[in-house]
Structures are given as C-alpha cells and as structure tokens.
C-alpha cells in the first residue's frame, strides 16, 4: 500500500533526478525547441519537493492537488499546464484514501494521462510527452490485469515509457514547439517524453 509519505518521496526523487538531468533536458530542448525545458522543470519540481516540509497534508489527493497547482504556478511554458494537469487529475481517483494499491493507482494514472490529452490534444506519434505516457499507462494496466502489484506495474510503466521516449527520436513533431522545425525535428528525442520517463522511473523507485 502506497502512503502519503511515499508520494512525498516520489516528488523528492523527481526533484532530485530532474535537477540532475536539467542540463540534459535543456540540451534536448535546445535541439528542437527553445532550450528551457530543464530549467522549467527544475524550477517547478524544486518547489514541489519543498511542499512536504512547509505544510501538513491531510491526504494523498490534497497533496497531489497542491503539487499540480504548484507546477501550474511555477513551470510555465507548455510543460507547466500539462504536468500540472497530470498531477491535478492524478489526485481525483485517490481522494480521501489514506493509502492506495495498484488498482486506484491505475485509475489515477489513466485520469492523469487523460488530462494531458484533454489539455494538449496530442496523439500518439506527435512526438510529445504523451508518447511516453501512453505506453506507460498501457503497460501499467496490462501488468495489473496480469495480477502484478504496484511495484511491478510501475516498473513496467517506466520501462514502456522509456521505449516510448526512444521511439520519439525518428518522429517528425506535430505538436509543441518542435513542430515548427518540420522535418528537421526528426532525429532528436523529445524533451517532454524524456522528463516523463524520469518522473515514472522515480515513481517506480518510490511508490512500489
């Protein structure tokens, strides 16, 4: 069963790994975007990691809502509303629960990913973070259907996300800033797909 403490550990892990990978994310964004993805993400997740120290949260969903709002309020750019919406929606299926197992987590993940699509209207193959999230969600649900526990489901999700991220490399972008480059966007991994993998890998390390 995953507790509030675990979710807080997740965000701490996200912040640490994003900070550490910020230059890499920015580098990816420099190639096909505007070179701010790492800075944006680090700014936002740093704030999120601080939340647990500043405030007592009554429940997982209250905490995740605050994370979402914090991301919306600090990241900016395209990724701010998208990741913000992801965490805001993640909270919904978890409301009130003091701890959760794999089933509500799957619902939450679906709600979060649906939120990204509702906001960004991306489809698979558009070369966005959705190209990591979509297979991750699918892998989580398959693992769950096959009887796996939270840890295993999350590991499957993170691995699928990484494959999805790698799959963005040859794609021509159709959404986000990279779409302005047309054919020239091919041959580069999408920065948002890369940060999505970092977040899901952190989940596998902390929520399982």
């Amino acid at each position: 069963m995953t507790t509030l403490t675990a979710f807080q550990a997740w965000l701490a892990d996200c912040s640490a790994v994003i900070e550490q990978q910020a230059e890499h994310l920015t580098e990816l964004d420099r190639a096909i975007g505007d070179g701010d993805h790492g800075t944006n993400m680090a700014r936002g997740f740093r704030r999120c990691a601080e939340l647990a120290e500043e405030e007592q949260f009554a429940s997982i969903d209250a905490y995740l809502k605050k994370v979402g709002m914090t991301l919306v309020g600090t990241v900016g750019g395209a990724s701010g509303p998208l990741y913000g919406t992801f965490f805001l929606r993640l909270a919904g299926p978890l409301s009130a629960a003091p701890d959760v197992d794999a089933r509500p987590l799957a619902q939450a993940l679906r709600a979060g990913v649906d939120g990204i699509v509702a906001r960004g209207r991306a489809e698979v193959g558009d070369k966005t973070m959705y190209d990591a999230f979509a297979p991750a969600l699918e892998a989580f649900e398959s693992a769950l259907a096959a009887g796996s526990g939270t840890a295993e489901c999350l590991r499957a999700a993170a691995e699928a996300a990484a494959r999805g991220r790698d799959g963005t490399e040859p794609l021509v972008a159709r959404k986000g800033r990279a779409s302005y480059l047309g054919e020239r966007s091919a041959g580069h991994v999408d920065p948002g797909a890369s940060s999505a993998v970092l977040i899901l890998e952190a989940a596998a390390r902390t929520l399982g």
Partner: protein
C-alpha cells in the same frame, strides 16, 4: 556567456525593476506577479487590452503598455510562457469594467496557460475575457493536426491597431473581431544570421557556420525551417517577402503596413538597408507601403537577423495606426 547579468535566475525580475525605475511616471510594475500596467490604472469603460509571454522579446510586450496600446502585460521567464496566475493578475489589472481582450501568441505554452487563466477567472467571477490568438508566421504551415503557425511580428501591429480601437471606445466583441481580422490579414517571415543565448542555459541556442543562415525562424532562438547559404540582402528580402505576399494573396494596388523587425543583434544600419530591399520587392509586386516600422520591435534576445511582417491595410487600419500611442516601445502623437 557574455552578458550583463547578476544571477541568471533573476534576469526577469531585475529587468522589471529597471523598467519600473526607467518609466516611473508611466508604468506600474507588480514585481510579485511580474505584471506591468499603466500607472493610471485601468481606464473606466474602456476595453482592457492585455498580452504577455516569455521574456526575451523586448520591447514586446511590457514595452507596449501605455495609452493607445496595452493596459497590462505579464512577463514569463525568458522564452517561457507566463503561468496562469500571472495572466489572471494582468487580466484583472486591465479590467475597466468593459471586459478584457487577451492577445495570445500561438505557442502551446502560451495558449495552455492562457486557457487555464480563463478557466480560473470564469470560476472567480472575474472580468469578461476574450482570447485572440495570433498566428502570422508563414514559415510554419497552418494545419489542424499540428500546433499551427506561430504568432510573431503581427502581434505588434495588432496590439497597436486594436489598442487604438479600444481607446476609441470600441466594445469587447468589436475589439475581438477587429483583432481577428488584423491577424487574418497579417503574415510574417523571419531569418536568423546568428543564434542567441538564454541566460539560464548559458550556451547559444544553435551553432551556425559562417556563410549560412536559418530561414523561417521564430522568436525563440530556435533554428529555422531550413539552413541555407547566406544570401545578399536582396536575396533575403525576396526569400522573406515573397512567401508573405503569396500567403496574403496581395495584388497590384494593395497597400500594407510593413514591419521590418530586427531580432535584437542586428544593427539598425543593416535593418534600414534591408528595408530598402523589402520595399523594392514590394514595389516590383505593385504593393504600396502605407506605413512602416524599422527597428527592434519583437526580438529574440541578441539574435542576428530580421523578420518582415505585412499587414494588408485599408483606410481604417491606417487611421488606427496613426492614432496616438505613448508606450516605451512605440510612441507618436503623444
């Protein structure tokens, strides 16, 4: 990184502090929300005009706050859209009771954050807000399946023209209609001869060998659609103007407002020289330059290069163009 900076993380707030100090009689700066507004506050009964976006495009947008143009602008991090709270503050600040027109450049980040701001305001019984999205860059194909075209230089012209209409007392739906019309009759195309460096990144946004240029760039230091050999000013003018003329469907006898915009690092001497070539291309097409602007109006930090924006003009557009404007970045008749 050869820049005038303290901590790169503070560049936007510190620049805003400087802006406040440089225009104490005209501008009010909310340092917390990074919102710049007219010192007098919103004009009662006038439609408020708001824009905002990433920083690094100065004087756009904060430099266009003042009588005849914007009522408020908010400033995101360099090349990063503001967050919804900033838009909310700017929209509230600009409301004089007649609603607010929110001009958003078509970038995913700007659009999503503006939409979230509108949702927040709708739940808070805030001012009535109409969003108009600018998307004038012909380098990018207009398509329903992509993010669409970027908003670039046309945004400046739109803010001037619609600002004048709002000042005249046009109502919110009238201003929104005019704004959409101006956007529809405006197209742009840009070229980069050198990159820029985002302070927080510390390295140039791309590398360009001598003798090459990036054709079809936006305003975020990004590479363009194609890397091609550096042409003469004459060749570049043709490469920029012709697609714009074609996309706008301009014909012999048509008139335009022309913006020859510097990207930030190209000297005015070269911009005037370019304008001469742009005008020659338009002359050859039988298109008259009714009004023009030459200079740094929507920049990409210190990028070298320029963009051309054409706005199909009629008497009404010219009249609104000529109306007084008094902002740090654009000023006449006042």
């Amino acid at each position: 990184m050869q820049k005038l900076l303290n901590d790169p993380a503070d560049v936007v707030v510190e620049a805003l502090a400087g802006m406040a100090a440089a225009h104490p009689d005209d501008l009010l700066v909310d340092m917390e929300q990074r919102v710049v507004s007219r010192r007098g506050g919103p004009v009662r009964g006038k439609v408020g005009l708001v824009s905002g976006g990433g920083s690094g495009h100065e004087p756009l947008h904060a430099g266009y706050v003042g009588p005849g143009m914007l009522d408020a602008a908010c400033c995101g991090e360099v090349f990063t859209s503001p967050v919804p709270d900033q838009f909310v503050t700017a929209l509230r600040t600009a409301d004089g009771g007649a609603g607010v027109l929110h001009v958003v450049k078509n970038y995913t980040g700007d659009v999503l954050n503006a939409e979230m701001a509108a949702e927040l305001l709708a739940t808070e019984d805030g001012p009535q807000v109409e969003i108009v999205v600018t998307d004038d860059d012909v380098a990018v194909q207009d398509s329903l399946y992509t993010a669409g075209r970027r908003g670039v230089g046309g945004t400046v012209l739109l803010e001037k023209v619609v600002g004048a209409a709002a000042e005249e007392g046009r109502d919110l739906s009238g201003c929104a209609e005019l704004a959409r019309d101006v956007n529809a009759r405006t197209r742009s195309m840009g070229v980069a001869l050198g990159p820029c460096t985002v302070p927080a990144a510390g390295v140039p946004t791309f590398e360009l060998e001598e003798g090459q240029m990036e054709l079809g760039v936006g305003i975020h230091g990004e590479p363009g659609r194609r890397r091609v050999p550096l042409g003469t000013a004459r060749e570049i003018a043709a490469a920029l103007v012709e697609p714009v003329v074609a996309d706008l469907g301009l014909r012999r006898g048509d008139a335009v407002v022309t913006l020859l915009n510097g990207m930030g690092g190209t000297p005015l001497l070269e911009l005037y020289l370019m304008f001469n070539e742009v005008r020659a291309v338009l002359d050859a097409a039988g298109v008259t330059v009714a009004r023009s602007l030459v200079g740094n109006y929507i920049t990409s930090l210190e990028m070298a290069g320029c963009s051309v924006t054409l706005l199909r003009a009629d008497d009404e557009v010219v009249r609104l163009w000529d109306a007084p404007v008094a902002t740090p970045g654009l000023r006449w008749g006042a």
